[in-house]
């Protein structure tokens, strides 16, 4: 009995052991992937920057390498901390689990701001965290984690309770959530694309219907540069008009485009459409087939036709072939057959701008850009600033002096003007550079804030206690001091998200942003500026969105300042 139990225990232990090793290997992989992408971005971006600065050339690299140098810096820092964690995980240290939990989630957040590569890595990072909850690993750390998290969860519930009681914060959160949801759902909600224009619809007032039909598109055949055999080889295919495809008064249409660029002039194109299904078509005699034919044409090498279909459900068959006496090389052949159905006239809910862009759709698409920029700027500035400020505050002395003088210099420039100069210096005016410039201008705020907090925290007893049990400086700073500086940091970051949004929009407004015509709130206002008197809605709605978003962030920040403040928290 005893030996069996022992065996069981041993096997389960060795199983746990294997799982932890696998887990820590995965974590190592994740950390190295982050660091590698950070390194690539940093070296690529810096290299490009230096080359451009030295030669005054406007070289452009794929944005995946240069778009996010500050995130890259962050990845390197996160990576270095992550290696320690992964090592700890391999040795089954309990602290490693919760540390990895937080770090991977933070990394995932930052990764989300760098694009497709980031999405993959973020999912990978979250997956590792999820693996912690496997039955063989969970008991190793979960007990202690729960013990740690218990009081925190209690505080968190109390915060939620306080939030529910302050109406302004609730309003702010509701506005932010709805704006974020609407903006993320832009592909579903907006009838038009970000840069789509309906040229006939210029300057329409809010609520007017578009003059151009819009329809759902179904690609049946799309071929280009293919080797199509000449007659007697035929292409026979079909499709059905289902009830869902017929919902309006406008009949569906098929667009046929057939072309044959033969080197000799002996090629012709033949096309016929029948209102029966493919099976029926095959069963019919040629004479009966002809009776069902609704369209037939023979063109010289090229044919472009639109066929209107009756507005009811039916099956259709089309046949096309190329007639050529001999097949000469090369044949350049293109075929496209597209069905347009469910035509409708979209309503321009918020009107259109001077060139017929639908303002409602453009506001939503622009929201994605603006929110992404302001959130990633604040995120990066917060983390970079917090780390620099924490180091300055903890070690003091010369480092502190240096950091404070540097922040002094940054504070001497008003944000907008320094950002203007930096965008200018970066050479290319676009949103990525605005984001970069704002990151450079914003980090000192957080560095100052965290430094002040760290200065007061490091004299406290619990730090003394941690030092007396031999905790390393890095551990004291990261695990004990930094978490206690989060409250003012969160408040400041929330309010700054609105501020960054305003500054970014302002920069775009005076012409530092993306090229004219892109979807960006500030740029949309600047486009509507000259039409303000006669067509005020062009500039009004984008501005309203900026105001609402910034206001919501400020409401929340203002409210949680009181909620998180330990002095005001319990009375």
């Amino acid at each position: 009995m005893v030996t069996a139990d022992n065996n069981d225990l041993q096997s389960s232990q060795s199983k746990t052991r294997t799982v932890t090793v696998v887990l820590s290997t995965l974590q190592f992989l994740f950390v190295f992937a982050i660091m590698a992408s950070g390194l690539i971005a940093l070296v690529g971006g810096l290299g490009l920057f230096i080359v451009n600065a030295l030669t005054h050339a406007g070289l452009v690299m794929p944005s995946i390498f240069v778009g996010w140098p500050f995130q890259a810096l962050l990845f390197l820092i996160l990576g270095f901390m992550g290696i320690t964690n992964a090592k700890g995980l391999r040795e089954e240290e309990t602290y490693a689990y919760s540390s990895i939990l937080y770090m991977n989630l933070l990394s995932a957040l930052v990764l989300l701001s760098i694009g497709i590569l980031g999405y993959f890595l973020a999912v990978f990072g979250v997956l590792i965290v999820l693996l912690f909850f496997m039955p063989s690993v969970k008991p190793l750390w979960y007990g202690q984690f729960k013990e740690d998290a218990g009081p925190r969860a209690k505080e968190f519930r109390y915060s939620l309770h306080l939030i529910k009681r302050s109406p302004l914060v609730v309003v702010g959160i509701v506005i932010i959530t709805s704006i974020v949801t609407i903006v993320l759902a832009a592909p579903l909600l907006s009838p038009y694309g970000a840069e789509e224009r309906v040229w006939d619809d210029g300057k329409l007032p809010p609520g007017s219907a578009s003059s151009a039909l819009k329809s759902t598109r179904l690609d049946l055949v799309l071929l280009s540069d293919v080797d199509v055999q000449p007659y007697p080889a035929e292409n026979i295919s079909g499709f059905s008009m289902t009830p869902e495809m017929i919902t309006t008064n406008y009949p569906p249409t098929i667009n046929f485009y057939l072309s044959l660029n033969a080197t000799t002039d002996n090629g012709t194109v033949y096309l016929a459409v029948y209102n029966v299904s493919v099976e029926e078509y095959g069963a019919l005699a040629p004479a009966e087939q002809a009776a069902h034919r609704i369209y037939e044409n023979q063109g010289l090498a090229r044919m472009r036709v639109t066929i209107q279909l009756p507005n009811r459900t039916a099956d259709y068959t089309w046949v096309f072939h190329f007639d050529a006496v001999e097949k000469t090389v090369p044949w350049d052949c293109a075929v496209s057959i597209v069905v347009y159905y469910n035509h409708w006239r979209p309503i321009h809910y918020l009107g259109t701008d001077d060139v017929g862009g639908d303002i409602f759709s453009r506001i939503l698409w622009a929201g994605q850009t603006d929110l992404r920029i302001s959130i990633s700027v604040v995120l990066v500035a917060t983390v970079v600033g917090a780390i620099i400020g924490a180091i300055a505050g903890y070690y003091g002395g010369k480092i502190d002096e240096l950091v404070m003088r540097v922040t002094d210099i940054f504070f001497a420039f008003p944000g907008l003007i320094l950002a203007m100069a930096i965008v200018m210096a970066l050479g290319v005016r676009n949103l990525d550079n605005i984001a970069l410039a704002l990151m450079v201008t914003w980090w000192p705020v957080y560095a100052r804030l965290v430094r002040g907090q760290v200065l007061t925290e490091r004299e406290k007893l619990y730090v003394e206690a941690a030092r007396s049990v031999g905790a390393s400086d890095r551990r004291i700073l990261l695990a004990h001091i930094l978490p206690n500086t989060f409250q003012p940091l969160i408040v400041q970051a929330t309010m700054d998200t609105g501020g960054v949004l305003l500054t970014a929009a302002g920069l775009a407004f005076i012409g530092f942003g993306p090229p004219v015509g892109s979807a960006e709130w500030g740029l949309m206002i600047s486009g509507g500026q000259i039409y303000m008197y006669n067509y005020p809605w062009i500039a009004f709605f984008p501005g309203l969105m900026i105001l609402m978003t910034a206001l919501a962030f400020n409401l929340v920040g203002d409210g949680i300042r009181d909620i998180l403040d330990p002095k005001l928290r319990r009375r």
Partner: protein, 351 residues
């Protein structure tokens, strides 16, 4: 004695900041392009460029160039701006345009202080009453307002719609109505600047109508620019007033049976003003940022319009000059704030 030491200490502390600012503008001019662009214009003959390069030491090693740059700044040679229609030394452009921006900033500041402080006091004394809620939302809206959009809305309402409704409307563009000035002065050029402060000049010319015209032109851009500062001042005043009202000495004053007015305006206000003054001083930098946007919208011929145009035309000298100037103003404002701080709060011993 102590005050003098304090001022000197503050000034010494400001020196590294100024140096940092100068260095950053210098580095920026290198990144943007060849710094020779600061000193030449389109009409400079190509043959003269090597000479100009030598004069400004741009053929020397970098560290020598840095000293040349600083020394030419100190000599008052800030380069040539070419985005003002014709070329002009940067310092001269600044001298001409600074009054316009200063006038606007002062009016904005007046709006902010005259409305913000009473609103803050009102909000604090009527805490959690409807007045307080309205004031807080008003102030929050100011902090979240895209200033360029607010300016457009003001123009649409107060200039265009009031005109449509045949109400007395405010002028929407520019600093003056030059037709009026032509009639007033009886010349063909209209307004000729003396100090370029419209309000001062109209007094110097002895033209009351010119003064009124200047004031009507100032109201809208001034308020637009001042709204952000107004919001900041209101919020700061409210929170510091609330803080002060909790102090023991206020309870004492109340228990003595003093009237609420006296308690607030005699006892509380002075101490509550201290953080507000800091904020007002720091807001000057914000006003300069805001001026860039406000001036663009109201076609106000000041530094902001110049800076925007300079950046869009890659006029490096102008960008550097403007950035440097704003930073210097900001450093100066901070210095003054520190001094006022000391004067308001006797607990802060100078030095």
């Amino acid at each position: 004695m102590k005050l003098r030491d304090f001022v000197i200490r503050r000034m010494i502390l400001a020196i590294p900041v100024v140096f940092g600012v100068v260095t950053i503008t210098w580095i920026l001019s290198y990144i943007v392009g060849d710094p020779i662009a600061m000193y030449i214009t389109e009409r400079t003959p190509p043959a003269a460029i090597p000479g100009i390069r030598a004069i400004h030491g741009l053929d020397e090693p970098l560290y020598v160039q840095y000293f040349y740059y600083i020394s030419s700044l100190l000599r008052g040679d800030w380069g040539q701006s070419r985005s003002v229609g014709g070329d002009m030394p940067v310092l001269e452009v600044i001298a001409r345009r600074l009054p316009a921006t200063t006038e606007l900033a002062i009016v904005a500041m007046v709006f902010a202080v005259v409305l913000g402080i009473p609103l803050g006091i009102l909000s604090a004394t009527k805490k959690d009453k409807p007045v307080d809620h309205v004031t807080r939302v008003f102030a929050l809206a100011g902090v979240s307002m895209p200033i360029f959009w607010f300016g457009l809305l003001l123009k649409y309402l107060l200039y265009y719609q009031f005109g449509v409704w045949h109400l007395p409307n405010l002028p929407g563009d520019g600093r003056i109505d030059n037709e009026l000035w032509k009639a007033l002065l009886g010349n063909s050029r209209g307004y000729v600047p003396i100090t370029n402060f419209i309000l001062v000049d109209s007094i110097l010319y002895g033209e009351p109508w010119g003064f009124i015209d200047g004031v009507t032109h100032l109201i809208m851009p001034g308020f637009c620019l001042g709204y952000l500062t107004l919001a900041i001042v209101t919020r700061m005043m409210r929170s510091s007033m609330l803080e002060v009202l909790k102090e023991d000495y206020i309870t004492l004053a109340r228990s003595k049976g003093l009237k609420e007015r006296v308690v607030i305006y005699r006892h509380a206000l002075r101490n509550a003003m201290i953080p507000t003054v800091t904020v007002i001083g720091l807001a000057f930098g914000g006003l300069m940022s805001g001026a860039v946007l406000t001036e663009t919208i109201f076609n106000w011929d000041g530094l902001g319009v110049w800076a925007t145009r300079a950046i869009l035309q890659s006029d490096i000298a102008a960008i550097n000059g403007f950035t440097l100037l704003v930073a210097l103003i900001f450093v100066g404002a901070n210095l003054i704030v520190d001094l006022i701080y000391g004067a308001l709060d006797p607990r802060i011993r100078f030095g």
